[in-house]
Symmetry: D2
Subunit: 388 residues, 4 copies
């Protein structure tokens, strides 16, 4: 592997997280092999290839080991990694069944469907962490329903508010963006070389449904090989989530300033030069993610303009920024769960800093109740909490 | 006004369009005045200010003329245009009622609610144009359900497809992104200086609902002054729509190349140097929009990180890029309606260019039917076609 | 003009500024007419058109009034405003000389050269304001060479530094980015329809030099109609400048917080809800610009990928974001000059906030001296201060 | 490593390239250790730590092996990887000398200086590949100085040009952007916790120069820990280079279309579904990079706004996008060298496609000569070719 790796050294926000594990090159490789296996199984079910071939392909796909660096290097020749992977899979399957591998498929079918699989797993993890974040915020909002603090606008103290309303507003942002993230579910991609499913035979539409069922993915009404708005939507939903978490982190950094002192992170973020200085390290990590994701999502949005039936560059430009969006959103969610659950609140300091501000906290408590009611309602019905 | 204007000279894609008219500075000004009037009316209804005051404020707001350049210049002092506008409105209302103007409100209440009004009007126009685009695409898809043409991947001819499937895939993209655009509906903003509604009195929540009703806007469960995910979502939805239209334009440019000759725009885009050369001017305009909007939407996404209860820069950075997103999406939709309705299709050339390609068009016709069925179903039920 | 205008209502950072005046639609129109006149003059000088024609064209170009909204609307037909402008110019020049208008030229020649003119004027204004900013920062750095204050890292007090070093570091950023802005100087564009200068006759290269001299622009070694790296570089230089100013504004907002109280803006940024609250309005304006420009510069960078000899969308997508970069950088520089010259420094508070921090201010004073020496040296030699 | 790796599977444009090797996590780790060693050596030279300590630190730093995934995970606690790395280095150095490790330094000193080292190596590689690209383009320009082909504007054939002029224009873009890339040279970072060099002792400025000399990096006049315009400039220069290469790739894809047939890539980009179809795979790879880099550079530009003396998120957000800019620019340059050196030109087809176009090729040959003269002049003097 000599020197080719990214282990998260430059992205501690996701280092060691579950989302990093399910979005690695290895994970993408396994997903591509899973798709080849599912395709063969579905083709066998329709009698288009022998059952033994599908079985053999499935076995080999499940166990094939591949030197990823080498595969990546070979991917240069066709500008995608599926061509060399299929060659290896065919070789490993053996001469008898090699011809049944990747039958009717085009590289994009395999890679897009693998991306759908990877994405589904990653989004599930992100949303699980968001649930933890929301539960923690709901608790804070409830507990501090009446804790007065200064509202600050344009950097200056304005009027009193409550910490409960602040936490509830954070919660509203996470709720909203989690709802957005629940929507775009990448489906199976089965289009064949031209997006017409030609090559998959006369029962191609049935085949597509079988593959989808086999992989637990939504069936696509039509191939999306050249219609990429779903990918763009997914990217922007991930940016939305990370932005909502980044908003929390921004506020924590500001409220944890020495001169303000209203919040602190539980963990003692340490400094290499000043061992006794407590840094809001988790918030910094979350912000480092939030300051990136919107730009990666922009790459995905721009990729909607790809040419004709398979873009010459725009499709290929999606892969890495989509992974970054998933990893960074996942890292931010994971880190926010840690941040929120350990957040230290200093009501006395809040009260002191709010002293002398004119006016009262208005409808702050009612607003908290509204947000909490909305949150509880969604939690109970699970309305937005399953990706159904 | 001397020299301060942007009339669309550098943005012909929206020049002279309806969406340009409803997103001008004048439109924003009128919307801000409408909000002040609606607030006063609602406060009068609750007995918080005299009915006569509300009436007077409404009259003046409806007719007040303001030198926009001067107002903009004065806006520098407070970093927003509401402060000097309120000063003028108070002066015009007269001493007796001046104290009832803008009662309890903060600048952001007025500007955000005005933005919600402007956005609603602009989105309605965009979506009306999208309906025309979709109807035209549906017709093309139906008419050319069996017209063979070459599928082109990575710039090279691959296998046969049909023009019907191409048009239907374009339609699928517009349908999908129009659906996204239907979702984020900016609500009324009524938070007061701290987002607690303090200043609006004991019946503030009721007041917020009255104002919403008066303006025909959704009521916000809670103030969104510091929780901007909706604005980000709106921006990305506008980028999605423009991207789906940009995809069509990209394909038209490529298929209208001399050497391909399968499509042409109806209007004769003229050249200042070569009067007889026909340029795909409408497609170029649409692409000029699509190549910008995703980046402006990125600014909106990044603005989610604004500080505490009113951001010192991030909120103010939203205004112009949001307008650009609206104008460019509107211009692209308007131009796409013109493009699609006049698109010239050359089936003979398509057939000739597809000759010799191996294989058949697979399930192209069924895929077209699926997309058209989905489109008709939505049209009939209006599911996504009203912003309800 | 009914409702088509942008007078800066949503961009108070540049409202009423000199840079806004020289980047308006009107300014671009005048520049395009100037280019047509300069072309005719040069052609007359080479004997390619009658001297009387050039004179007539020059006179008409200098005085022609055009309804910009109408022109913009007509620009849709050719996807650029030059075609309808030339038609008007020809009509106004009269039948005798009409044929000598725009001879050999293509729309892009006129528009790009006009952009070079507009850009030169705008950059001069930006840089003049930057000189004021730098002079003010140099003064602050010198005056507070020994004023201790807390350094703050990751939002927390760290060790002592000096306000002089902070101001000097701000200065270093402006110096550096002003130097970058001095480099990319858009030259005259004279390529003709194909970028070969065909159409301009046998002395085309000579002609190009004459036009450049006539307009006071650099001559381009070769046409840049399809090689847009200079535009991208200009955009990123403007982003650099705005970023360096945005950095200052960010720090001012933080140091002007009530709880910190080490700096204040001279002007009393007012609030519509809280008349007595002092907002750092100038810093907010500067930040509103800085949070946008990098994204507009990204559009310009992406436009380098335009197709073949004139891009179908990417060129046209440059116009508005380049103007925004110019206007926002100009507005930020203009506002920063105001901010810096009026900045109130509270050394007592700085000292108090730094109390108890371990260690000394290290080499802060020497570092200040270095930066000031570099600044003075450049000022004296004018090294980077003329766009030579 | 289980599942944490990025080996380029999703970025074949740089997979297996030299630039990938010098920008890996391992490379960054080694660079950080090199910086610690150089610091110790310089401190020993000044007599601030014992010579034996520096020797021991140097030995250990050169050979220390670290589990990168574990280190990355531990980096979460301080939001940067230097803190846990220093702990390991100290432990490995042994109790006697541990106290001399990282003396006076802050994490940012080490990481920024390591970034400067990594960047220098990567930029050298990029520029070496650019030299190959330029040599190949110069040859093509010379050889095809008189080869006529159609100029194409807005996707349509316009007038004749030559392939020589096209190649020369590509060359001009690479020359220009390579010149930009030669400028921003990240210097050593030595600021200490507060950017004042406090902690490095009374001879800190001398120390900084020794460290710079030891590492072969430019000395920084002042610390750049909070003044990040150089990083932004570097990012935009990398975007410029990649854009200039992306422009070439865009044109190749268009001219390699079946219907145009004027160019072809030498390598046979293969398709998993259509083995006999030749894809412009190298151009697609280059475009995949170019469609990303401008957005990553935008993240770096936005990071200029970081807060006070060390940003809480913006600094940390630079690391990964800077690596991506380096890797993608490097991959694009590497791939472009392969593309250009193997490009197949079909002059007959060019001639045929240009037939019937009105006019001649104007000054195309002179323009080619100008560009080649500029190129040769720079090559000879090496003006821009050394990073001096």
């Amino acid at each position: 592997m000599d020197g080719m790796t990214d282990s998260g050294l430059l992205s501690p926000v996701w280092a060691g997280s579950r989302v990093a594990a399910v979005t690695s090159d290895e994970a993408w490789l396994r997903a591509m092999l899973d798709v080849e296996a599912a395709l063969a199984r579905a083709q066998a079910e329709l009698g288009e290839i022998p059952a033994g071939a599908a079985e053999r392909i499935g076995e080999v796909a499940a166990t094939l080991t591949v030197d990823l660096t080498e595969l990546a290097r070979e991917a240069r020749q066709s500008a995608n990694p599926v061509v060399p992977l299929v060659a290896r899979l065919r070789a490993a399957v053996g001469e008898e069944h090699a011809g049944h591998v990747h039958r009717g498929a085009t590289s994009q079918d395999i890679l897009d469907t693998a991306t759908a699989l990877v994405t589904r797993r990653a989004v599930e993890i992100v949303r699980a962490d968001l649930r933890t974040v929301m539960a923690g915020l709901a608790e804070l909002a409830h507990e501090h329903r009446h804790t007065p603090m200064a509202a600050r606008t344009l950097g200056r103290r304005a009027l009193p508010t409550t910490f409960g309303l602040r936490a509830a507003t954070w919660l509203a942002g996470v709720l909203d963006t989690d709802g957005r993230l629940a929507r775009p579910r990448l489906p199976v991609q089965l289009g064949g070389a031209a997006g017409t499913l030609a090559g998959y035979g006369p029962r191609a539409l049935e085949l597509a449904e079988l593959v989808a069922a086999g992989l637990g993915l939504p069936a696509a009404p039509v191939p999306w090989q050249s219609e990429r708005s779903m990918v763009a939507e997914l990217g922007s939903a991930l940016a939305g989530v990370t932005g909502a978490l980044g908003k929390i982190a921004t506020d924590v950094v500001l409220l944890a300033q020495d001169e303000v002192g209203e919040l602190a992170e539980s963990s003692l973020g340490s400094s290499s030069a000043m061992p006794h200085k407590r840094n809001p390290a988790l918030s910094v990590l979350i912000r480092s993610a939030a300051l990136q994701v919107a730009s990666y999502a922009q790459v995905l949005a721009a990729a909607q303009l790809g040419e004709l039936d398979r873009a010459a560059g725009a499709w290929q430009a999606e892969w890495q920024p989509l992974r970054e969006c998933l990893r960074l959103a996942g890292g931010a969610a994971h880190t926010a769960a840690e941040l929120v659950s350990g957040l230290k609140v200093f009501p006395k300091r809040m009260r002191a800093n709010a002293e002398g501000l004119p006016g009262d906290v208005g409808a702050a408590a009612e607003l908290v109740d509204r947000i909490l009611a909305g949150y509880r309602n969604r939690s109970r019905t699970g309305a937005e909490f399953t990706s159904s």
